[in-house]
Amino acid sequence: MTAAVLSPARARPAGFSRDALFGLVTWGAAWLVLLLLLAIAVAMAWGGRLAFATFGPGFLTSMAWDPASGRFGALVAIYGTLASSAIALLIAAPVSLGIALFLTDIAPPRVRGPIGIAIELLAAVPSIIYGMWGLFVLAPFMATHVEPWLSDHLGLAPLIGPIFSGPPIGIGMLTAGLVLGIMIVPFIAAVARDVFAAVPAPLKEAAVALGATRWEILRRVTLPHTRSAIVGAIFLGLGRALGETMAVTFVLGNAHDLSASLLMPGNSIAAAIANEFTEADTALYRSALIALAFLLFVVTFLVLAAAKLMLRRIDRTLGKAH
């Protein structure tokens, strides 16, 4: 054996081992991301085991929330989370689609960039700022202008009356839903704008040639073509709204009562945890709050996973195949 043959042979194991180390580190980091999700779910289930064991499935359907006697139920918080998120979606979905339509078809090209960035900045505003704005600006506005009108005109109506009756105090489910809706608009609008812009031009041109108006192009060409992505974007917004904490905590009113009226204070899972966790003085109390977090985590996981599956289909058709 000569030295000339040995030296590249020596060089190779050194290079190989560094490569192996590099590969191992990146592989480990990828697994870490995967395990993080699992660890969070397991930690929440483990932390909530006392509450689940004590109350059983009744935890989900009980309206009780009495720290003094140690009786806890999740129903009020679950209802608040779902109701505020539903209001948020009712507001955010049409507004986001309107913004996306405006940015792709209506606005003059020169203002599209600036307006698009301004809408994106809405997503960058920290949620605690939304909360303060909701409490000090939006809630008084709702209390003096919107809610009296709602309870005067709709409060006595059959069927929907109870939803809009109650004192106009500004703090409650409706205001929380409105703040949440504003918060998720930029997320839905960003996806909607991208998929609207990616609709093949020949499809739209064919519709124009048939004499379709812009609204008809949206209704009959753009929306059917992008349906799965739009639903995915809305689910993405729903996932955000379900878990949003600070903004809701400010304007929801922290009341553990189940009320049909949207004008009354309520509670949500995230707001209950934020308000009460540091004050929870018994193991059962803490466990009940962590059990709530477990439920929230599972529900947002399912919603976001559904969103991701629906968005993946459009990624593929846009050529962004993973």
């Binding site: 930690a43 993405l236 540091t278 709050l289 976001l304």
Partner: protein, 280 residues
């Protein structure tokens, strides 16, 4: 016939007006939020805000300890989260681009990206605070890092995948080992995208409140120890805004103004730079 034409035109006009109004609504919300923070927070902006400690109710003071605590926690979170996120991003884009593990990680990562931040706070509470027996600035940093990681993973994965394959082939043809190709050549080419992700992540975690409530908690006094509760801007804003005291409200708004200005300026600059880079 004319009636149908009229109805179609009307529907079109209504839809276009709605789209315009929706955009105006979004812009008005942004303007109102900005105007509120500036008009309510501007009055309390002054040297004292950055030099004095958070006061007890009824006294004058500033937010110096909160700014310091936030800066330390955010920087430590960047130091923890960026390498992990970058390494995972490299795996997704380079090592295992088409593997089943990469597909699973991308799926899970996108979910973590939108996962409720309050649950992350509780997770770190269970992981660090409960075993150690006390709240700490380190726990707060860890919670922020967990929120940062998915953002870095996603942007570094996307930025690296945008690097043309010709570059990889040229580098491998020179006989460079894989780690050198990735670290010295591909990462350099993707640096703008990676940096964009890290800076946008910084903007996001600077304003995160929920994960700090049960990890860093708050501290009314100056503390430089990461092993003890650490004052931070978002939690101070939360506590002061929910309090009944006017002076605390004024300080909360001043903190909100500084926080919003920092986050929005950073996001705006990064977006403009990224856009310019794309066109240039």
């Amino acid at each position: 016939m004319r009636w149908i034409l009229f109805r179609r035109r009307l529907a079109d006009i209504v839809a276009l007006c709605f789209a315009g109004l929706a955009t105006a609504f979004g812009l008005a919300c942004l303007a109102s939020i900005l105007w509120t923070t500036i008009s309510k927070g501007g009055a309390a902006i002054g040297p004292a805000l950055f030099t004095e400690m958070t006061p007890p109710p009824g006294a004058e003071g500033g937010l110096a300890n909160a700014f310091y605590g936030s800066a330390v926690m955010v920087l430590l979170a960047l130091a923890i989260g960026t390498p992990i996120g970058l390494a995972a991003g490299v795996y997704l884009a380079e090592q295992g681009r088409h593997t089943r593990l990469a597909a699973a990680v991308r799926f899970v990562n996108d979910i973590l990206l939108s996962a409720p931040s309050i649950v992350v706070g509780l997770f770190v509470y269970e992981l660090v605070v409960r075993p150690s027996g006390h709240f700490s600035g380190f726990a707060g940093s860890l919670a922020l890092a967990i929120i940062l990681v998915p953002m870095v993973v996603r942007t570094s994965d996307e930025a690296l995948r945008l690097v043309p394959d010709r570059m990889r082939e040229a580098a491998f043809a020179l006989g460079l080992p894989r780690w050198k190709v990735t670290a010295r050549i591909l990462m350099k080419a993707a640096m703008n995208g990676i940096l964009t992700g890290v800076l946008l992540g910084l903007a996001r975690i600077a304003g995160e409140t929920a994960p700090l409530l049960f990890t860093a908690l708050n501290n009314q006094f100056w503390s430089a120890s990461l092993d003890r509760p650490l004052a931070n801007v978002p939690v101070v804003i939360f506590q002061y805004a929910m309090s009944p005291y006017n002076q605390w409200h004024a300080l909360a708004w001043a903190g909100a103004l500084v926080l919003t200005a920092f986050v929005l300026a950073l996001s705006l600059l990064v977006r403009l730079a990224a856009r310019k880079g794309r066109h240039g």
